[in-house]
């Protein structure tokens, strides 16, 4: 892309070779640390790699335990690289990308990256834990009742609808498509429950203009991936999902979630990440056959479709019409395992695993011959994205 220097040090040099996940659901008895260890163990077994071979770790800053706790439990060897990425839902592709950079640059050979989370219990949600006084940017919004993440995104959604003519029907398209995909995924938490347009339109409000079905599902569970060199991946048991391109993004003047104070609040971090993602790639948005787009809330889908260049600004809503984001016949099947809204919400890390399954050919809503699979992390917060490709 014009203006960006694009060395190829990382491109295609590494791959995801193992994936693992615990049960996803409500009220799981295990601790986050136990869940993380289980997911990592499953991912290593899936890859056919011994714990002693792991020499790198990548995780979210929000993990409630430390890397050393994982290493001591899983029985890892000498760790020569460990990294964390902040901003919650923006970090998922970031941790995998950090792992890819570390392997590609010789800081380590095999990395596990994970997310473990227990948020199904309402009392565990940060907004419900009132601080004595607000000293960060929350002081500019929370005293006015803009409290929960859904309130923060609802404010941008109303403006988006005003500027571009987006409608609740567009948001319903998103919710219904993901529920259909979840119905095909036996590991999803909501697949057993069909969702109709009437259900959507009659649902209770959470923060107008967003209703119940515009929200993700807070879930307990853990997921992990194993990243190693593409060279090593050739000898392992699964088709590797090559990390073709990776980017993070913080746009100028960005304020996470409550991004109302910039010149152009609807031009979010996706735009920044996309610029680097496509600059470093050999493919374009038109080549992407399947996408996992971060969906803590339904309006993040039109915003991400625009930010990553699948359509023009303001056209993300109409893009969802006519089954365009539905498997198998849509122009771009999105969130083929059900996403955060209908599979599980584990800070978007389940999207990373589904992006890998599409390259392996093992999704429950498999896009025939998928060779280019996009995964994005949270829009509205400092974010990240990865393009997975098949081995050529």
């Amino acid at each position: 892309m014009e203006g960006l220097v694009t060395p190829t040090l990382v491109k295609d040099q590494t791959a995801v070779v193992g994936i693992g996940q615990t049960k996803l659901g409500k009220g799981l008895p295990d601790t986050e640390l136990s869940l993380a260890c289980q997911a990592i163990s499953l991912a290593l077994d899936d890859a056919g790699i011994a714990p002693s071979e792991v020499d790198g770790l990548a995780s979210f800053t929000l993990e409630p335990f430390r890397e050393v706790d994982v290493s001591r439990s899983v029985g890892l060897g000498d760790i020569t690289f460990f990294s964390q990425v902040g901003f919650g839902g923006g970090a998922g592709c970031g941790v995998v990308g950090h792992a890819a950079m570390a392997v590609a640059t010789g800081q380590c050979e095999t990395v596990v990256a994970w997310r473990a989370r227990k948020r199904a219990d309402a009392s565990s949600r940060p907004w419900a834990q009132a601080a004595a006084r607000l000293s960060d940017t929350a002081q500019w919004t929370r005293p006015f009742g803009i409290i929960r993440p859904v309130d923060e995104i609802a404010m941008l959604t109303r403006r988006y609808m005003h500027e571009y003519g987006g409608t609740r029907d567009h948001l319903a398209n998103v919710a219904i498509a993901f529920r259909k995909h979840a119905a095909r995924n036996p590991n999803s938490t909501m697949g057993h429950k069909p969702l109709t347009r009437d259900d959507y339109m009659n649902a209770r409000w959470i923060s107008e203009p967003l209703c119940l079905f515009d929200n993700c599902l807070e879930t307990d569970g853990a997921l992990a991936v194993v990243i190693t060199s593409t060279e090593r991946a050739r000898d392992l048991r699964h088709p590797p999902a090559l990390i073709h391109s990776f980017a993070q993004g913080i746009p100028p003047q960005h304020q996470t979630m409550t991004n109302y104070f910039t010149d152009d609040p609807l031009r979010g971090p996706a735009w920044t990440a996309a610029k680097r993602l496509w600059a470093n790639a050999d493919v374009t948005p038109a080549d992407v056959q399947v996408a996992q787009l971060y969906d803590a809330f339904s309006p993040l889908i039109p915003l991400s479709l625009e930010g990553y260049g699948f359509c023009e600004r303001g056209e993300g809503g109409p893009f969802t019409d006519n089954g365009n984001i539905e498997w198998p016949d849509g122009r771009l099947p999105v969130n083929t395992a059900g996403g955060g809204m209908s599979e599980a919400y584990v800070h978007g890390f389940n999207l990373v695993l589904e992006g890998v399954r599409q390259i392996r050919g093992t999704s429950t809503s498999q896009v025939e011959g998928a060779e280019v699979s996009l995964v994005t992390s949270g829009e509205g917060v400092p974010t990240s994205a990865i393009l997975f490709t098949g081995a050529r």
Binding site: I146, A154, R158, F261, D263
Partner: protein, 146 residues
Amino acid sequence: METTWLLPDLSDPTTAPFWEGCARGELLVQACASCGLHRMPPRPMCPRCRSLEIRWEPTSGRGRIWSFIVPHPPLLPAFAAVAPYNAIIVELEEDPLIRFAGNLVTGADGEINEIDPTTIVIGEPVQVVFHQIDDVSLPRWTRVVA
């Protein structure tokens, strides 16, 4: 009930002048004393010229609604008690890139749920008022009657 409202820490030197202005009934905006750029929320350095010199400028206190929401429960108890209520973002009349969060009320001491949310329109003109909760004066907004 109002003691459980979410309120700012008034001791942060970067943001305290804003809240002190509110306490005097003035809506202030932080400006760079070197290049004049307005910035909201306040911050220590000018993102245009990197000056650390700051001045606090009075504003007209007038603006237009940029967006709004109507939150419903589950919410913190103090907010659940008045839900559904409105929350708004206001763009400042003289510099629309400066925006403030607030609530649309009928007067300084009106509740944040008094106005029928179906009547709220993006772009409608509003005027700041100040509502006292504990030691904090919160900027809220009333409709400008033509």
